[in-house]
Amino acid sequence: MSRKLFQYLAVLVGLMIVTGVHAAPAAPDPPSNDDCLKCHGKPEATAKLADGEAMSIYVDSDSFAHSVHGGKLACTNCHTNITALPHPPRQFKDRRAMSLAYYESCKQCHFAEYTRLLDGVHYAALEKGKEKAPTCVDCHGSHAMGHPARPRMHISETCAKCHTGVGAAYAKSAHAAGLAKGNPDVPVCTDCHRAHDNSNPMTTASHLRISDLCAHCHTNEKLMAKYGISTDVLTTYLSDFHGLTASFYRSEGLKPAQLTATCTDCHGVHDITWVKGPGSGVIKANLLLRCQHCHKGAGPNFSSAWMGHYEPSLRHAPLVYLAKLFYMFFIPFVVGGLVIQILLHLWRMVVNI
């Protein structure tokens, strides 16, 4: 049996070699980088696009050499359709059509990132025909590509190229202030939104996941101790009305009639500021405005119904603390009294017999 199989394979391999040699005479070597630069190394080199634009086709060999791919990739590794020189002129409607024609080159090596991209909102937009939706090169650049997260600030700048409003809001935040100082602890866009498979942040499901995103850092005791920030923020949220509701909405997987407040509804989405700073949206003076967003007609007393992530104590929410303390003694006192009455009653009955 195995001998038969061997014979079969030997014939098959032999046929492949013979036909291969006849069908495709040895392919010429693809053009080298130097070959390409003979034309594309001239700063004045342009090509005419169908929309009339004379697009520069110049590639700065120095900046390519210093890019992450410098010394590792040849031009034809990405520009795979160029197999011989001179190559036939390429026809593109416009500059965007050219970018879109090339972005799939990246998946040859970066397949994992590519498949994640397919799950993201940007690809979904592209698929619907929105040509402006970003592909690989729009965020990463092309020939002069550096490491996407070096410096880390580069990430937020990249997103802000399109998301200008969000970028400006983020720039005002406590997180951006840390980022500007080179602090590695603070989140940039991709820490919450992810890099390639960014999901739509406006859905109910996303809204219900926000507390997890924030808690990822804000329950990290080592990290928060550096800044004197309480790590009780999640538990105090989850045990109060809003958080409890959000937890159930999430586990139920139903579409609730009305969303309940989560971190960002009070603290802001991108322009999250230091809670104790004067401009903070959640200090007493400003918090009511946030409450009124959902609780129409709330008066000035309303916002102090929220205990500000504090466990009740004599210092914070003393009335709540005292009410808790009262019941801690009152319930055992009453129940204990009743149990004693029952036991006495039974004991006396037993004695009577």
Binding site: F241, H295, L319, A323, Y327, L338, I342
Partner: protein
């Protein structure tokens, strides 16, 4: 002579039944929210069909309870004030003395237990616990339901206070009912396995002689005079 004596009116029996159903419903939907972390609570909420529906049921039951409480107190006041009924549920000096007498009896200092009128001190304690606790539950429940309106008049901190009070008072009421009421109406040797009087309205003559001798004597006195059963009693 009839072996049975009418102890509770139809209205009182309906009230008890309604409050029993509402209490169970409020307890179930309330504790599922109080102990939201516990697996049974999550299961209950899922079975009912989500937190929003649980809250809706809790509020609907709470509002119904409020209506019954107002009805109960109004009719009680009306009956007592127009002298259609004796204020038999009002706690008096006698109840306090009864408790001491009973305690002495329990501790074998004396051999004579207290003798009771229509309601003994334990029943009055439970009744007033229910009424006062119920009023607190109603007040704090409405504070939690309408925090925007309430904080126009009261400090904001009263809302979390109301939550603590509502939650703990509910637990207390539940424990009292589980331990005290269930013992007295089901597990005590006198009642075991089940004292049906609040559902049938009737008790035996023997029961009355033993548990409520003062009332029994009064009824018998009246019966001899008037040949009539008895006046209505509140509540």
């Amino acid at each position: 002579m009839n072996e049975y004596i009418q102890r509770f009116s139809v209205r009182q029996r309906i009230e008890h039944f309604t409050v029993m159903v509402l209490f169970l419903m409020l307890g179930l939907t309330g504790f599922a929210q109080k102990f939201f972390d516990a697996p049974w609570a999550v299961w209950t909420i899922t079975m009912i069909g989500g937190i929003d529906r649980v809250r809706w049921l809790h509020r609907a039951a709470g509002i119904t309870f409020t209506v019954f409480a107002i009805f109960h107190i109004s009719i009680g006041l009306f009956m007592v004030l127009t002298r259609r009924s004796r204020p038999s549920m009002i706690a008096s000096r006698k109840d306090f003395l009864d408790a001491i007498t009973q305690l002495r009896y329990y501790l074998r200092i004396s051999d004579k237990p207290a003798s009771f009128d229509r309601f003994d001190y334990r029943q009055k304690f439970e009744y007033w616990g229910m009424v006062l606790g119920g009023m607190l539950m109603i007040a704090t429940g409405f504070m939690l339901l309408y925090p925007v309106i309430v904080t126009r008049f009261l400090p904001g901190q009263f809302i979390p206070v109301a939550r603590v009070a509502h939650s703990n008072e509910g637990l207390l009421a539940f424990l009292i009912v589980i331990i005290w009421h269930v013992f007295n109406a089901h597990l005590s040797p006198e009642a075991f396995p089940f004292d049906p009087s609040i559902f049938t309205g009737k008790v035996t003559r023997e029961y009355m002689e033993k548990e409520h001798p003062l009332e029994y004597a009064r009824i018998m006195g009246q019966t001899e005079e008037k040949q009539e059963a008895q006046t209505h009693e509140v509540p």
